[in-house]
Each structure stands twice: as C-alpha cells, then as structure tokens.
C-alpha cells in the first residue's frame, strides 16, 4: 500500500481537555489524549461511556463544547475540509445506501473524495468475493460491514476510525472481519482507532489503549507500557489499600483473599513482597476490566487518569 500523508510531525490525534455536553449532561469531559501516528488504538468503554461522542468529535461530525481535538494537526474549526479528508470512518451498524449496488457505493466514494482509491476498493471486493453489481441490501451483514470498511479504507485517509465495527455481526463474521482488518492495516502506517465494548476482540489488534467510562478517560497509553506498569496482586483480605505497593486500581474481595490490580512505577518493577502475597503480571483483559470497574474518578483516593504523557514511550 501507498504510504499515507501523516501530516508532518503532528500526532495522529491530540485531544486537549476535550468535552461535550448534551443539554445538562456531559457526554465526555476533560479528555486529554495524544496518540502517535501508526498506533492501533483500542477505545474501550461500556455503552453510553462517551465513545461515539469522542469519535464524532475526532471525525468532525460534532463540535466540542470545551477543549480541542486535532487530527494530524488540523482542527475541524480551522480546516473543516482538510479534517474530513484525513479521517476514514466506519460508523456503527456500517451504514450504506441499501438500494445502491456496491459499484454505486464506490461511485459515491469517488464523487465525494478527491483521494478515492478505486483500485483498492475493487481489489478488496474481488478478494472477498463480493460482486460489484450486487445491491447492498442483498449482501449479508458481514459483507455489508466489509463494503463499509472498504469505503473507509479507499478514502485513503491517514486515520481510520471504526465505531463498534463488529457488534452487529455473528461470531464467524466477527472473526473474519477482524482478521481482514488486521491484514488490511498491517504495514500501511495507518493510524487506527477502534471503539468497542468487547475487550477480547481488541487484544490481538491493538497496541494502544484508551479506557473510557462515564464520559471520562480512565487510562490511556501504549498497551505494552501499561502492562509493564501494572501488577495483579493477591493479598490477604485484611490488607488495607495503604499498605499496597503502588496505586490500587481495582480490588476484588474473594473469601480469604483480595485480588488487586495496582499501578506501579515501571522504572522499579520489583514489587516488594510479603509472605502470603502473590504478584503476577497483568493481562490485557484484566487491566482493561479493572479500569472499566474502577469507581468514578471524582471519588476520593484516585488521582487523574494515567495518560500518555505519564508513560514513557
């Protein structure tokens, strides 16, 4: 694939105290994240956590109430067209015009995007065995998702944003879609943001992680760095939080023991041990689940989210 315009040295995505209010309710608040070009970001959060709000502000479909978000240095206020050109978007439920043929959809893509890559679209359809003449409504859900993904890829934008791309697909179609997605972005230099509420789908694909709950970023950073900065401790149930090494993220009490995910200083990874304690490296899924279950950040005892700037890259 062709190397994409990465917009110079600007980060692929930079959100600075980004917030969006709907009436009196904040859909997203105080979101500060910086994602380098080439990252494949898993944006994880339960339904209603603000994922779509964040994505729509990244794309430029929604303006922030406060703060700012830029994509390769462009904000939608200052450069609305340049911004749209830099993001390929696969919306939830992969919307397509049902009475269009696949060829019509591609014609639309070509008409609405100067950088449209017709060859890429046709090659993908051929590889997936989807005839261009077929009407969208006669395609299976998995095939429709593939056509919609192809629309986003053929736009040739350096940032690809996928909102719950597989949530409406059956398990086989999910697997095929994710496999194809991995193959499609590998080695392209594309920056990808995939929103999902299913953690397991993202583990193999993503090298970057943003966990969002209640409209707030709980943790964000490169997956490897985050894993290195956390340990899963098993301690006697009576152990108070204050005696734990590092910052407890989430604690589960179970019989005689408690399982606690703690954030440690990655520069000093040797967790001081006590008899009866057990320290294990944290897994991707355990880490994400711990942050998803963490009490709201406003509660006493928790500092600000662990953000990219705190994690050495």
């Amino acid at each position: 694939m062709v190397h994409h315009d990465a917009g110079g040295t600007a980060p692929a995505l930079r959100a600075d105290r980004l917030g969006r209010r709907y009436g009196r309710v904040w859909g997203l608040r105080d979101c500060t994240v910086e994602v380098p070009a080439g990252a494949v970001v898993g944006l994880i959060g339960p339904n209603g956590s603000g994922k779509t709000t964040l994505l729509e502000m990244i794309i430029g479909l929604l303006e922030p109430t406060e703060g700012e978000v830029s994509v390769f240095g462009t904000t939608s206020r200052a450069h609305p067209v340049a911004r749209l050109a830099r993001v390929g978007y696969l919306a939830q439920d992969h919307p397509l015009y049902r009475d269009f043929s696949v060829a019509d959809m591609f014609h639309l893509g070509r008409a609405m995007n100067p950088s449209w890559d017709q060859g890429l679209g046709q090659a993908r359809m051929q590889a997936l065995g989807i005839p261009l003449k077929r009407k969208v409504k006669t395609l299976s859900g998995g095939q429709q998702a593939q056509v919609a993904l192809t629309m986003a890829l053929a736009k040739r934008a350096p940032l690809l944003v996928l909102d719950e791309p597989v949530s409406s697909l059956d398990p086989v179609a999910r697997l095929e879609f994710m496999r194809d997605l991995m193959a499609s972005v590998a080695g392209t230099g594309l920056t990808v943001i995939i929103a999902s509420h299913v953690v397991s789908e993202l583990e193999r694909l993503c090298d970057w992680l943003v966990v969002l709950t209640g409209g707030q970023v709980q943790v964000a950073g490169p997956a490897d760095d985050l894993l290195a900065a956390h340990r899963l401790l098993t301690v006697p149930r009576a152990t108070p939080d204050a005696e734990l090494p590092g910052l407890p993220v989430h604690r589960t009490d179970d019989g005689q023991h408690s399982t606690v995910l703690v954030r440690i200083d990655p520069a000093r990874p040797a967790v001081r041990q006590r008899p009866g304690w057990q320290a294990d490296p944290a897994g991707f899924e355990q880490l994400v689940l711990a942050y998803l279950q963490r009490r709201p950040r406003t509660a006493a005892g928790y500092d600000t989210a662990l953000t990219a700037t705190e994690v050495t890259q």
């Binding site: 430029g60 067209v81 978007y89 919306a91 939830q92 397509l96 015009y97 893509g109 609405m112 995007n113």
Partner: protein
C-alpha cells in the same frame, strides 16, 4: 456530487414522470373531447363577437357537460396534490439519512455536508421547477376552451395555471426538508410540513389573494333594474360573463346604493392575472427560500 444526488433521487424522478404522464393522458383524452365540443357548439364564433351573451344556451350546455370534470373532480385532488408531492420528496431528503444512520456515511466524506446539501437542494429544486412547469403547461392546455369562457381568475383555475402551482410545490418541498432535519423521521416530517403548508395555502387563497391589489369599483346606473345585493358574485361558472360584462374579471362584491338607483361592483380585472400570480408565487418562493436557508444553516450548526 451531481451523480450522487441523481442516484439517490432517481426513483423519485421516475415516479414524478409517471404522475406527469398520467396527468397528460387524462388531459389529452378529456381535453380533446372538450375541444371538439367547444368547436361543435359554435362557441369560438360566439366569443369572437361577444362576451358570451349571445349564446347563453350553448355556454350553459358546454359548462354543464365539462364543468364538473374540470372543476370538482380536479379541484379537491389538485388542492392538496402540490403539497403532497412537495413533502413526499422533501421530507426524506435529510430525514431518511438520519433515520437509517447513513448521515454518518454521507457527512464524513471529504465533501462537507453543507455542500452535499446545497447540491442536492439545487438539483431537486430544479427538477421540481421543471415538473411544476410541465404540469402547469398540461393543465393550461387542457383547460384552454373552458378558460375562454371563464377566464383564469377562478380559484380552481388560478391555482394551476401560471406560476403558483410550481411555487406551491417548492414551498411544500422546503417545509418538508426542514421538518425532516428537525424531526429525523420521514413520515412524521411529511405530516408536520404538510399541515402548515395547507394552512398557509388556504389563508393566502381565501383571505389574502383578493387583497393583493386594491379592487376596482364599477358603478352602474340601473334605472330600477338593479341587481339585488348578495346575489351570486359572478365568480362561479354559472355567471358567464360576470357582472362586469367582461370575461375573466374576478367580481368580489355586488351591491346596490342606498337609493336603489345604482349597482356597485368591486372586482379584480382579468388583466391583473399575471401580477397576482407573481405576488402569490413570490410569497411561496420566499417561504421556500426561508425554509431551505434555515435548513442549510441548521445543518451547518448541527455539530455545535
């Protein structure tokens, strides 16, 4: 973008052509027999020499035969037809994108959504103008013999000849597009757009139209034979020619003076037809522009 708009509205365009073809076939079938009867009854010669006064029986026979086909059957349908046509095309233009989620696809392409909308509106508006003009031409041709007896100012004639028919369609279309953006669902948006359209349409027709220009007053001395006050105003087909004695005048009122020696007629002269058409079309085109302008502005601001 032109291709995209065409592709999305292709089936509507074909359906509109179908409606137009059906109208044209009806017009040719009924219009041809009307023309034959018109010549057969000797009406052209009669109208050439008078305002229909020397062939009252022939006029009555002709209007008796064709009056109902022209006026009643058509009128109730045609009163709401431009509104229905406009809202059916207008309401889904944005509402269907919001309904089916395709707005996320359409508005995340490189072309900004305001340009997307502007091109669509320009194309569909242009198509509706062509459609409205074609329907007007068909109806005008079809009604031509009857119009020679009645003029163009009667409600059910005035509304479908000249400029206003197209303007009615455009106005309903504009209301439909705006309602679609506000309501997000096609069918409720059609209803929400149609009701104000019909209200404005009826208010303009029955309250405002006769006041577009100050009427002309005609005073006739009548030496004991004055027309009684409250008599048929002469705007119906039964009164040919109208009380002014001139075909096509729109008689608003007929009354006597206090002494009973004069008849006072107020009317809009037939030659004001195009001025009135322009004023009324102007009102509806202005409403269209306001609705479409508001839509573009709201869509531009929608993200904020």
């Amino acid at each position: 973008m032109i291709w995209v708009s065409w592709r999305q509205h292709r089936s509507q365009a074909i359906a509109c052509l179908g409606v137009l073809a059906a109208l044209a076939i009806y017009a040719i079938v009924v219009g041809t027999s009307m023309r034959t009867a018109f010549s057969h009854d000797g009406l052209p010669a009669c109208l050439g020499r008078s305002q229909g006064t020397i062939c009252q029986a022939a006029v009555q026979a002709f209007t008796g035969e064709f009056g109902s086909a022209v006026n009643i059957a058509f009128y109730s349908v045609l009163l709401i037809a431009p509104g229905l046509l406009g809202v059916i095309i207008g309401a889904p233009l944005i509402a269907s994108e919001l309904e089916y989620g395709t707005w996320r696809l359409a508005w995340s392409q490189t072309i900004p959504r305001t340009r997307w909308l502007a091109v669509k509106l320009a194309l569909v508006t242009g198509g509706l103008i062509v459609l409205g003009a074609a329907m007007t031409a068909v109806i005008t041709w079809y009604r031509a013999p009857m119009d020679r007896l009645t003029g163009h100012f009667l409600q059910n004639i005035y509304d479908y000849e000249g400029l206003v028919l197209t303007a009615y369609i455009l106005c309903a279309f504009g209301f439909g597009v705006l309602a679609g953006l506000l309501i997000h669902r096609s069918i409720p948006a059609m209803i929400a757009a149609f009701i104000p359209w019909l209200a404005i349409r009826l208010v303009v027709e029955f309250l405002l139209r006769s006041r577009f220009l100050a009427p002309v007053t005609l005073v006739q001395n009548c030496a004991g034979l004055c027309v009684e006050s409250g008599q048929n105003g002469g705007t119906g087909i039964s009164a040919i020619p109208p009380a002014t004695g001139h075909i096509g005048d729109w008689v608003l009122s007929i009354g006597g003076n206090a002494q009973g020696t004069q008849t006072v007629i107020t009317y809009q002269p037939a030659d004001r037809f195009w001025i009135f058409q322009s004023i009324e079309a102007g009102i509806f085109v202005a409403l269209t522009a306001a609705a479409l302008g508001a839509t573009i502005w709201l869509l531009h601001r929608r993200s904020a």
